[in-house]
């Protein structure tokens, strides 16, 4: 395939699109802003197409571009970010009727333009993140994502829950940012580098520490393991917030429930994907240092076990669907962490598992949230009983939801099962048996709370009989997502061939 464009053109285009949307919000005459979202969807979809013509081979880069690297995996995650944003915008269109109730505006629809443009900026952040190989760019990209979310979570200005969620997310997000910067500082202080490859090189081959440490007679890693470990732990805490891993998960249920539902979906997919991309990058460096690899793995294993148990067991009793999905999102972070734990022994298997799981998780989470938004709008609520008898009111939605739920639970012939299989395979190959036993309990619990949704849709009588109208764009999105879940569950090759690690070319230092 001819590679005619540099990969960075994708991010630039997305940023320009975001800025144009802000201008449109400020100066457009018509009160209805929904056409902005439709244009944005068209542009983003076109960009996915363009991404196949961009340069994907790693090349020698200098100056600023040392921050930025492109390979097949990075491009894959850029496509994921674009696809996610498209679906989030479709959701935002469905949600605009709810949104208007809580926005002070002169005319209906006015003031909602930012609700469509902020996801575009977040998308740019996610795309930068996929290519970031330097702590500085990682930090900036992560903050671009997080700041966008601060605004979006609290977007419904007249809704107490949304505001409360916004404040909680702001405080805890700021805290985790602090941890991240502090951790990066420690690593920089130790090695004098912010570029991941350089840090790895320094940590594995021995180095002369920068003057501050050298003056005290401490050279190289020898004797500085504690400092390195301290930096790593701080970074892990910060990323723990982003991926909602126990014990840093307490903000999740309230924020997920309070935020506008499209934002919740974006949070649970985008924010988590961002966190895991960074986690894999960072751990790639730290696990290469034998002095700390064992300790870091042990720490991750404890986090994974706690996350699996907390997410799955607390989800058992939830009756609000947004909260249920919040806890299930914690649970899925647990499975992803389980694969991450295997990274020290089986890096290739683990990375494959994380990438595939994220891709699958995205499809099924977005599908379930999209249906949740449609049903919640027509049933005026997002409790489990609002789904009662959905099979009678709209067999199409009920069947699509069944596919999403079955995939989340990990029923074979869906993409969720292949993800779980890869995760278990990585864990088994690296021999973490205690973790596997916990994961078995977690999967069983998962079956219970996921199938409760199916039971509500098919076993119960509907509370109201009004038929559910689905917008054509949403119907198309549901068809594509549901079809992809089933198709990739039987034929995972399209994703597998994209995330397959190419033989590692030595990067220019």
């Amino acid at each position: 395939m001819q590679q005619i464009l540099p990969a960075i053109s994708l991010e630039v285009t997305v940023l320009i699109l975001g800025v144009l949307m802000l201008f449109a919000e400020a100066f457009a005459k018509s009160a209805d802003r929904s056409h902005m979202a439709r244009y944005a969807i068209a542009v983003l979809a076109a960009l996915i197409g363009f991404s196949f013509f961009t340069q994907s081979a790693p090349t020698e880069l200098t100056g600023y571009w040392k921050f930025y690297s492109v390979d097949a995996t990075a491009l894959f995650f850029k496509r994921i970010a674009l696809g996610t944003t498209i679906v989030v915008l479709v959701m935002a269109l469905e949600y605009r009727h709810v949104l208007q109730k809580y926005i002070p505006g002169v005319e209906a629809g006015q003031g909602t333009g930012e609700f469509y443009s902020l996801p575009v900026f977040i998308c740019a952040g996610l795309m930068f993140m996929a290519s970031a190989v330097d702590f500085i760019l990682i930090f900036v990209a992560l903050e671009l994502v997080t700041i966008g979310f601060y605004v979006l979570v609290a977007y419904m200005r007249r809704n107490m829950q949304s505001l409360e969620a916004g404040v909680k997310y702001l405080i805890l997000g700021a805290l985790s940012t602090g941890f991240l910067v502090y951790g990066i500082t420690w690593i920089f202080g130790l090695t004098g580098e912010t570029h991941l490859d350089a840090i790895k090189h320094a940590l594995t081959t021995g180095f002369t520490a920068p003057s501050a440490i050298a003056e005290k007679g401490l050279g190289g890693l020898q004797g500085n393991e504690a400092a390195l470990l301290f930096g790593i732990v701080l970074i892990l805490i910060a990323l723990g917030f982003k991926i909602a891993a126990a014990p840093f998960q307490l903000w999740v249920p309230d924020v997920y429930q309070g935020a506008p539902t499209p934002v919740t979906a974006f949070l649970s997919v985008g924010s988590k994907a961002a966190g895991f991309i960074v986690l894999v990058r960072v751990l790639d460096v730290f696990l290469a240092v034998p002095a700390v690899a064992g300790k870091v793995t042990a720490l991750l294993a404890i986090m994974a076990a706690a996350t699996l148990l907390y997410g799955n067991l607390t989800a058992l009793t939830q009756d609000n669907l947004k909260r249920l999905f919040a806890y299930s999102s914690i649970a899925h972070a647990g499975y992803l962490l389980m694969a991450i734990v295997a990274m020290s022994v089986q890096p290739a298997l683990a990375k494959e598992a994380v990438s595939f799981y994220l891709a699958g998780y995205l499809l099924m989470t977005l599908l379930s949230f999209l249906i949740l938004i449609i049903v919640a709008r027509h049933s005026r609520g997002d409790e489990l009983h609002h789904f009662n008898g959905l099979a009678k009111r709209s067999p199409f939605l009920a069947f699509a939801m069944t596919i999403a739920i079955a995939s989340l639970a990990g029923v074979p012939l869906t993409v969720g099962f292949i993800g779980k299989f890869l995760v278990f395979k990585a864990a088994i190959a690296s021999g973490h048996w205690a973790l596997i036993c916990i994961a078995i309990v977690a999967v069983a619990a998962g079956f219970y709370y996921y199938i409760r949704v199916i039971a509500a849709m098919y076993w119960q009588q509907p509370n109201e009989s009004a038929p559910i109208v689905i917008a054509p764009l949403s119907r198309l999105a549901i068809l594509i997502l549901g079809g992809a879940i089933l198709f990739l569950g039987v034929y995972p090759k399209p994703i597998l061939s994209q995330i397959k690690e190419p033989p590692q070319a030595p990067r220019q230092q």
């Binding site: 074979p412 099962f417 278990f424 079956f447 076993w459 034929y491 090759k493 397959k500």
Partner: protein, 492 residues
């Protein structure tokens, strides 16, 4: 595309068509007839002189992991496919008028059948597992929506149990896959036995226990059995027939296909545990069955109990024992399906299924009296039915393998065989007692309501009983297919 692909695809495609609004019962019946015809055709076309796996087709799914949708069948799988097709046809045929959401009902039934057929026809480990799981959600829906009694509780129980069993099984299968050297790793079940030779005894033991527990939960091996009886008692008739008759055999089929040829050392290591559990299955569950006061729960527990015999044949590990086990899978599947079909008829017309409130039913329903009697005799294991032939083989096989020349004491396997033989007595007690209470004696008030069923129930029951008698009077009809396959498995 071979006949084999069609046997699997027909019910699945039909389920989709039915969901889209095709006339449910008619198309389901049509596809089940076609499925049965195809499976018989496949049996007739199978070249027994050639042996091995035939009708192979492959669709490459993920070359990176050597993952293919690889289908093929040897004699054993063909017999299981025949069982699947026959029980599916019977289950669809006996289905009474469904009041609510008929299309969804038939789609679920067809999906269970397609999942079971897919598992039996797959030669790829991944799809072997995946097809079985396909049947999980439809089972849940069938019991939860159309069941009777404590249906929701039973549906939850079976789903959670089977989910745990499946995930344990998944871990075991993955362990097996990873135990093979990296370069040779494959999901191809035809190549695995040769590759598995290199697995050390310790690894075999650790893989075997995961497989045994995983499959054990699916088969209702003691002490993982408590989901089975309540689920079968409250499931709608076709679901009970298909699950007890066909789907449960997936676990046994898996043990014969994977554990017996590949993990002989593992089987040795855990032999005593398996023997204790299977004797519990026969004697303890047998006694539990005697204590039941309702026909549906009694049949449910009897189906759990009979799994013990099949485990005994697998534990024997020799050709005659394992062939007997495979034959018993067929025989049990046919007899329990027939019994559940007639139990469903009784449930529809009789005010209650409790033994104390029924009596003299045979007076008004002579066909039901004869047919139920025959199915009950088959289930006990009386000569003339396939169950007898296969139980004999199992007992001979296990007693013979357990014998040590010159020893004056019995080996564990022989003691288990002797305990197992008492199981036949126990089956006779509960089956005959149930038959006497329901069909004989003076008619109680309400029994006159039970009339002979229409031909929609008669013909399927006659078909099932005919297949049972064919296997009983001429066991070679099926053994000719089963035995060479088992020999090939064990020889490796």
């Amino acid at each position: 595309m071979s006949a084999l692909n069609l046997i699997v695809l027909l019910p699945i495609l039909n389920a989709i068509v039915v969901m889209l609004g095709a006339p449910a019962r008619k198309s389901a019946l049509l596809s089940s007839w076609a499925q049965l015809a195809l499976s018989i055709l496949a049996l007739l076309n199978y070249d027994r002189t050639l042996g091995g796996y035939q009708f192979k087709t492959t669709l490459h799914v993920a070359p990176e992991w050597n993952l293919n949708l690889f289908m093929g069948a040897d004699g054993l799988s063909l017999v299981m496919l025949f069982l699947t097709a026959l029980v599916t046809l019977a289950a669809v045929w006996v289905t009474p008028k469904i009041e609510k959401r008929e299309n969804l009902f038939y789609a679920c039934v067809l999906l269970i059948s397609g999942g079971a057929a897919g598992a039996f026809a797959s030669l790829d480990l991944f799809f072997f597992y995946a097809f079985h799981e396909l049947a999980l959600v439809p089972t849940f829906l069938l019991i939860g929506i159309w069941g009777s009694g404590e249906r929701q509780l039973a549906a939850w129980k079976i789903t959670i149990y089977l989910a745990i069993g499946s995930i344990i099984l998944l871990v075991g299968l993955t362990k097996l896959y990873l135990a093979i050297p990296v370069a040779a790793r494959t999901f191809d079940m035809t190549k695995l036995p040769a590759l598995a030779k290199g697995i050390s005894a310790a690894d075999q033991a650790s893989i075997y226990i995961w497989l045994l527990v995983g499959f054990g939960v699916l088969i209702s091996l003691f002490p993982f059995h408590s989901w089975a009886a309540p689920a079968y008692a409250s499931a709608p008739t076709p679901a009970a027939m298909l699950h007890a008759g066909v789907l449960k055999k997936f676990g046994l089929y898996g043990l014969i296909r994977l554990a017996v040829p590949m993990l002989p050392e593992g089987a040795k290591h855990w032999a005593t545990l398996l023997l204790v559990l299977l004797v519990c299955n026969i004697l303890y569950i047998g006694l539990v069955t005697i204590a039941q006061k309702r026909l549906d729960t009694m049949l449910g527990y009897s189906s759990v109990m009979h799994m013990g015999y099949i485990f005994l044949g697998i534990a024997a590990g020799n050709v005659i024992g394992v062939s007997g086990a495979a034959m018993l899978m067929l025989a049990h599947g046919l007899s329990i399906a027939a019994l559940f079909a007639m139990c469903g008829t009784l449930r529809q017309s009789s005010p209650s299924l409790a033994f104390t409130s029924m009596g003299g039913v045979a007076k008004h329903a002579p066909f039901l009296g004869y047919a139920f009697g025959m199915a009950a005799f088959a289930s006990i294991g009386l000569p003339g039915f396939a169950n007898f032939a296969s139980e004999m083989m199992v007992f001979f096989g296990s007693f013979k393998t357990g014998a040590t020349p010159g020893a004056l004491t019995f080996s564990g396997l022989q003691i288990a065989t002797i305990c197992g033989l008492w199981g036949v007595v126990i089956s006779a007690v509960y089956m005959l007692r149930a038959y006497r209470k329901i069909f004989q004696g003076e008619p109680l008030v309400g029994s006159e309501l039970v009339k002979d069923p229409s031909c929609c129930v008669r013909w399927p029951v006659i078909l099932l009983l005919a297949a049972l008698m064919l296997g009983g009077l001429w066991p070679k009809s099926f053994l000719n297919f089963i035995q060479p396959s088992v020999e090939a498995l064990i020889a490796k």
